[in-house]
C-alpha cells in the first residue's frame, strides 16, 4: 500500500469537508473493498477519511418504507425481521452476499459503491478504461467469462458485482446523498451510469458527496419477492447471474411486477421491458417465458460469457415460477 494520511470523521459534515479540501482523499467505512484495492494499487489516495465511527447505521421502519443508514452493516440488515418480511428479495440478496465475516464488516453504502471484480481492473499491468480512461479494454477479446452482456460499450464490459443493489433497484430504492450543497435523494437506478465512453464514471456521486442512507418503499410486489443467485460455488462467490423479482396478482392477472438482474450488466439492471411483458397477463409459463426473453432482448455476448444470456433467461423464468408456486 502506498503511504497515505488518515483522518477520522466525527460526522457527515466533517467527512464532506475533508473530501472537499483534499482532491485525492477517499472514504473508508467497512474497508472490504477499499483495503483490498489499496493493496492492489488500484486506489492510491493521499488521505483516507474514516467514516466508520459516524453514527449513521440505524434501520428505521415506517408504515410506507424502511430506511437504512449508509453505515448499517450488511448482516444487520440481512438479519432484520421486518426487512425479511417486507422485502424478502433484499434480505435474501444480502444473505447470499460475500461471507459472514465480510457481511459483519461491509456497510450498505459501501456495498452500493463497491467496484467491479473484472480481473483487468484489478491488474495494473493491463489496460483498463475503468481504471485509466482511454487506456483500452482488455476484457473485450480477452478473458470475459464473468463479464456483462447488458449495458456494455466498446470501452467497458465489466459487470457490477453487488447483489444488494440488484434487489434495491428492482424495488425503487432511493439513495440519500449529502454534500457541500443541499442533501438530495436519487432513484438508485438513476444513481448508476452505464460505461459508455467514460467507464471510470460509475455513478452520480460527486467527489465531496457521501451516501448517507437508503430509502426502500413498501409495495405489494416487494412483499412477495425472491432473489435467485447462480454462481460457480454454493456460497461465498459473486453471481454469474442473479435475479430479484416480485409480483402481485389480482383476479388471476399480474398487477405489479418488478425485475432486477445482476451478474449480467454493467450496472444493477432494472428490466423494465420484462416487467411490461408481465403486467395484465396471466401468471403462467408462457407469460414468464416472454418476460425472460424481453429481459435479455438487448443482450450481447463477448465469447466466454455467451452462456449468460440463456442462463439469465432461465433464471428469470425460475424465479417468477417460484413466486406463483403453491407453498
Amino acid at each position: 500500500m502506498k503511504p497515505f494520511a488518515y483522518a477520522r470523521a466525527r460526522n457527515i459534515e466533517d467527512a464532506v469537508g475533508l473530501l472537499r479540501d483534499n482532491p485525492h482523499a477517499m472514504c473508508i467505512a467497512g474497508g472490504t473493498t477499499v483495503v483490498d484495492l489499496l493493496k492492489e494499487g488500484v486506489f492510491q489516495p493521499d488521505l483516507l477519511v474514516d467514516v466508520s465511527r459516524v453514527a449513521q447505521d440505524a434501520i428505521a421502519v415506517f408504515d410506507d418504507r424502511i430506511e437504512f443508514g449508509a453505515l448499517a452493516r450488511m448482516n444487520d440488515v440481512a438479519d432484520h425481521a421486518q426487512v425479511a418480511a417486507a422485502f424478502p428479495a433484499v434480505a435474501q440478496a444480502l444473505a447470499a452476499s460475500a461471507s459472514p465475516q465480510l457481511r459483519n464488516m461491509a456497510t450498505i453504502g459501501g456495498n452500493l459503491l463497491q467496484r467491479t471484480r473484472c480481473v483487468y481492473f484489478r491488474d495494473l499491468l493491463t489496460p483498463c478504461n475503468k481504471r485509466v480512461r482511454g487506456s483500452g479494454c482488455s476484457a473485450i477479446g480477452g478473458w470475459n467469462r464473468q463479464h456483462a452482456v447488458l449495458g456494455t460499450s466498446d470501452h467497458c464490459i465489466a459487470a457490477h458485482p453487488s447483489d444488494l443493489a440488484v434487489a434495491l433497484v428492482a424495488f425503487d430504492a432511493h439513495v440519500q446523498i449529502a454534500g457541500a450543497g443541499a442533501a438530495r435523494a436519487v432513484l438508485l437506478t438513476d444513481f448508476y451510469s452505464e460505461p459508455g465512453e467514460t467507464p471510470d464514471v460509475e455513478n452520480t456521486l460527486a467527489h465531496d458527496e457521501v451516501i448517507t442512507g437508503v430509502v426502500l418503499p413498501r409495495s405489494a410486489a416487494a412483499g412477495h419477492s425472491a432473489y435467485l443467485k447462480l454462481r460457480d460455488r454454493a456460497s461465498f462467490e459473486f453471481a454469474l447471474v442473479s435475479v430479484a423479482a416480485g409480483l402481485s396478482i389480482a383476479d388471476g392477472l399480474i398487477a405489479h411486477a418488478r425485475i432486477g438482474l445482476g451478474g449480467v450488466a454493467t450496472k444493477p439492471w432494472r428490466a423494465y421491458d420484462a416487467e411490461g411483458a408481465l403486467i395484465g397477463q396471466p401468471a403462467n409459463e408462457r407469460t414468464f417465458k416472454a418476460a425472460a426473453e424481453a429481459a435479455l432482448a438487448g443482450a450481447r455476448g463477448y465469447g466466454h460469457n455467451d452462456f449468460k444470456i440463456p442462463l439469465a433467461q432461465r433464471a428469470v423464468e425460475r424465479v417468477l415460477t417460484s413466486l406463483v408456486a403453491p407453498t
Binding site: 473508508i28 466508520s52 465475516q101 464488516m105
Partner: protein, 164 residues
C-alpha cells in the same frame, strides 16, 4: 476534525484478549499485520491477504471479521479477540477441544481462523444445522478439506450451547 498533514504514524490503543496494548502505527498497516508483526500474536494467520480465505479471522467487539481487510488505525479503543485469548493448552476452549476430538484439521494453518469464525458464529446464530453451519462457515477455506470434521466439531459445541 483531526488530520495529519503528511503520512505519519498514529497512536492507537487496542484491547487485545483483555489486555490494553498501545502502539504507534502507520495508517496503511492492517489489523492483521499489527497483531502479528507488532504484538507478535502469530496465532492469527495470513493466508490470501484479500478477504477470501478467512485464516485471519478475529473478533472485533465480539463480531468476526477478516483482520486483513481492515486497518489497525481504525480500531482505536476496540476489543480484539484472537486465538491466543480463547483458551490455553491446559484449559482448552470448548471449540478447541471439539476440533481435537473431531480431528477438524490436517495441516492446521486455517485452524485458528476456523475456530475464531466458529466462535463468532456461535454468538450470531442458534439452532444450527449441518447445512447452516456449512453456509455460515463459507468464509473459511480449508485446503486440506477437513470440512466434514470441522462441521462436526462446531455442531458438537452448538448442541452443548443449546442445552445450556
Amino acid at each position: 476534525m483531526k488530520m495529519q498533514a503528511a503520512p505519519t504514524t498514529v497512536e492507537i490503543r487496542l484491547v487485545v484478549n483483555g489486555a490494553e496494548r498501545r502502539m504507534s502505527v502507520e495508517p496503511n498497516v492492517t489489523l492483521l499485520d499489527a497483531l502479528r508483526d507488532r504484538l507478535h500474536l502469530t496465532g492469527t494467520k495470513k493466508g490470501c491477504d484479500q478477504g477470501a480465505c478467512g485464516a485471519c479471522t478475529v473478533l472485533v467487539n465480539g463480531r468476526r471479521v477478516n483482520a486483513c481487510l481492515t486497518l489497525a488505525v481504525m480500531h482505536d479503543g476496540d476489543e480484539i479477540a484472537t486465538i491466543e485469548g480463547l483458551g490455553s493448552v491446559d484449559n482448552l476452549h470448548p471449540l478447541q477441544a471439539a476440533f481435537l476430538k473431531h480431528d477438524g484439521y490436517q495441516c492446521g494453518y486455517c485452524t485458528p481462523g476456523q475456530i475464531m469464525s466458529a466462535a463468532g458464529l456461535l454468538r450470531e446464530k442458534r439452532d444450527l444445522t449441518r447445512e447452516s453451519v456449512r453456509e455460515q462457515m463459507s468464509g473459511n477455506i480449508c485446503r486440506c478439506g477437513a470440512y466434514p470434521n470441522i462441521v462436526d466439531a462446531i455442531l458438537d459445541v452448538a448442541g452443548a450451547n443449546d442445552k445450556a
